[in-house]
Symmetry: C2
Subunit: 229 residues, 2 copies
Amino acid sequence: MAAAKALVVLSGGQDSTTCLYWAIARFGRDHVDTLTFDYGQRHRIELECAQQVARYARVFNTILPINTFAALSGNALTDAAVQVCTELNPQTLLPNTFVPGRNLIFLTFAAAYAYPRGIDHLVAGMAQTDYSGYPDCREDTLKALEQAIRLGMECKLELHTPLMFKSKKETVELARDLGALPAMAYTHTCYNGRQPPCGECSACLLRAKGFAEAGITDPLLERLRGISS
Amino acid sequence: MAAAKALVVLSGGQDSTTCLYWAIARFGRDHVDTLTFDYGQRHRIELECAQQVARYARVFNTILPINTFAALSGNALTDAAVQVCTELNPQTLLPNTFVPGRNLIFLTFAAAYAYPRGIDHLVAGMAQTDYSGYPDCREDTLKALEQAIRLGMECKLELHTPLMFKSKKETVELARDLGALPAMAYTHTCYNGRQPPCGECSACLLRAKGFAEAGITDPLLERLRGISS
């Protein structure tokens, strides 16, 4: 097996799947590994989708457990249980394991995974566009983190975020240009964890809007229609 | 209970205990919380010492689990198990859960713990002196991380590392000046996890050297002599 050069943080969603194909185009399929975090997400289907996408794209996938977010969110904390955060907005539909700065943790663990394997390129799907509420998705945050990782691990890690300034429409077009659309049939987006997707949550609506604006039928919906008919 | 202003990352060792008393002196006992990571360290005695030190100092202590380091070090990884890191130097006596950039993770989780509690000050015992091998203990690394956390969490977190440029002798003197010496009797340093400490590992030797140069008897040894006589 060829040595990996790039590691893609693969959530099983539309954006990270597009990033996977971006990495394959840039580094070659044999040089791309994928890493998925099992952090107690509300819907286990995300993990299954990540594995299915990796299998479809014929790249390695590693699932790395993180039990800390669930503990930070209020379970299993000793002593300070009463002090636990209550400020998260129920309107945002964030998973109950949402933790501020979560992407800083994901990327640092990804870098720690990459380091001993000699992998210098980290690829992740964060985007400033369409995600106004998440400061840990912004480029200045990620540039500062890249610097902290380079200094803290004495390495030359390069963090790539090819979707940073793209709209959902542009991301769909990029997926098309990279040949990533067939793999989209195995991705997961719905905040409610439903398959077929609920079509009503903000994530479903944003995804639908992107495909509609790009004039492309969502391969996931096409596949599910094929199954049900 | 008064709201905490500062969070001390407490490992149960000499340095973090000194930092705890530094924080108490600066912010007041009622405004200091402590956080300890249960990350699969080789010796559970570290956790017990952290709790004993916190109890002795009459401050809250929270233990936060992290199962990711053990997974990164080679256990429980799916698919990529064969690719696991073999480059760690057995000479360094690092725990088998050592992960490059580990302090980046500790401090980011500590910031995520602090954020919803309105805690703006993070205190940690990293030092450039005496720890030449650890790039994630250096000031430039931690400054970059502080910046990433501030941007990524949109907060004003201030990271304090009062021991950064102190020798072990100076740290012992600071502990004396802060009234932290009695609490030192409950700390743990030995790499071999022994109590009484083995006195032979590099951590024991470094600790002994610091106390000797400061002309102070190590309160831990004094306490243990008291128990055994």
